[in-house]
């Protein structure tokens, strides 16, 4: 891949009016070569208005589709506009844009199709609840077993994708929990996964979209989806 790869930073955001301006400015500062796309997932606050005011491209969903739907919209646009690499940086400020280029590196060097920012590698900081920690560790272990690649943080949304991965996920992407299922799906389609140690930060403000019922629903749905995925025929994606 040549050095002038077109990079799109996708910022999915839902009711993030307190964080969106600072994350856009940080991406501009720390990943200045990348274009920015904010996918406003049906926010009821001023998220989209603030982003437009900062002169970045904004796509607004007329209603909330969930994180998977928002990310997929971004990937569809990345595919349509011919980007070589897409990086997801969440609008809540937990992903530090300083790691964007570190994530992109294995893809630019054509060593991987999906580069995942892991909180667990090299004792990077992990600041999540015990229940979530158990779920993430279990599904990461499962993803490792199935994909044959060591995955320590399958729930990390801080990911960079190659053109192949953009094409695959623009076509099919889990809507509710794009975690283990998405990675196993990509791995079975012949895409290479790699993890990079990153640090996650706490939310600067606003509310998390994770509620108790989602914590309870997560292992049931993720488990079912992974099992059903394994019953499907494996095939290369070109």
């Amino acid at each position: 891949m040549n050095k002038k790869a077109k990079v799109l930073v996708i910022i999915p955001a839902y009711n993030e009016e307190t964080n969106i301006a600072s994350i856009i400015n940080e991406v501009r500062e720390k990943a200045s070569q990348a274009d920015i796309l904010v996918v406003d997932d049906g926010s009821k606050d001023k998220t989209a208005e603030i982003a437009r005011h900062l002169d970045v491209r904004v796509v607004s969903h007329p209603f909330n589709l969930g994180i998977g739907g928002a990310v997929q919209t971004g990937l569809m646009i990345a595919k349509k506009w011919g980007y070589d690499i897409a990086v997801q940086v969440d609008g809540d400020g937990q992903h530090d844009p300083a790691f964007v280029y570190t994530l992109i590196k294995p893809i630019a060097e054509e060593k991987a199709d999906i580069s995942i920012g892991s909180r667990y590698l090299n004792n990077a900081n992990v600041n999540i609840s015990l229940m979530r920690h158990i779920g993430v560790r279990f599904f990461s272990w499962l993803t490792t077993k199935i994909s044959g690649r060591q995955i320590t943080d399958c729930s990390s949304g801080f990911r960079a994708l190659s053109k192949r991965a953009i094409g695959l996920f623009a076509y099919e992407y889990p809507v509710d929990f794009p975690d283990a299922e998405a990675l196993i799906f990509a791995s079975r389609a012949g895409l290479k996964l790699v993890e990079i140690p990153v640090k996650f930060r706490g939310r600067n403000g606003g509310k998390s979209s994770l509620h108790l019922w989602r914590f309870l629903w997560y292992p049931i749905k993720e488990g079912f989806s992974v099992v059903m995925l394994l019953t499907k025929r494996q095939g290369k994606y070109e």
């Binding site: 007329p62 209603f63 509710d176 049931i220 749905k221 079912f224 989806s225 059903m228 019953t231 499907k232």
Partner: protein, 118 residues
């Protein structure tokens, strides 16, 4: 196990297999597939595990175990109907919003064309 319970168990297994087939063909979403598989498995367990059914039967005072399954199923179907009514209402509302958004976008495109054409 009575003939009616045997039939209920067999029908539930058939429904579970059909649900899995629909899910694999992408005609059913995970949430719905999991719900129907859970219901099917519950009926299979209740139909084949006589002790559980007899205990529930005594607790609610039903005369025939098959009646209990039937009553439970009717109650469940009512709940499902209400759930789908809510979902249809939500989808109708989303459909309305989408139509309005598309209408406004079309009008913006037409305005742009008119400005360009002078």
């Amino acid at each position: 196990m009575s003939r009616a319970l045997e039939l209920a168990a067999i029908a539930s297994v058939v429904i579970a297999v059909w649900v899995l087939y629909l899910f694999r063909k992408k005609r059913l979403k995970e949430d719905h597939a999991i719900l129907w598989i859970f219901v099917s498995l519950s009926i299979v367990i209740l139909s084949t595990w006589g002790d559980v059914l007899s205990t529930i039967n005594r607790l609610v005072g039903a005369e025939n175990p098959a009646d209990l399954i039937q009553a439970a199923f009717i109650a469940f179907l009512l709940l499902i109907c209400i759930y789908y009514s809510v979902r249809i209402s939500e989808l109708t509302e989303q459909n309305r919003k989408l139509s309005q958004e598309i209408g406004m976008l079309k009008s913006q495109i037409d305005d742009g064309k008119m400005e360009r054409d002078g």
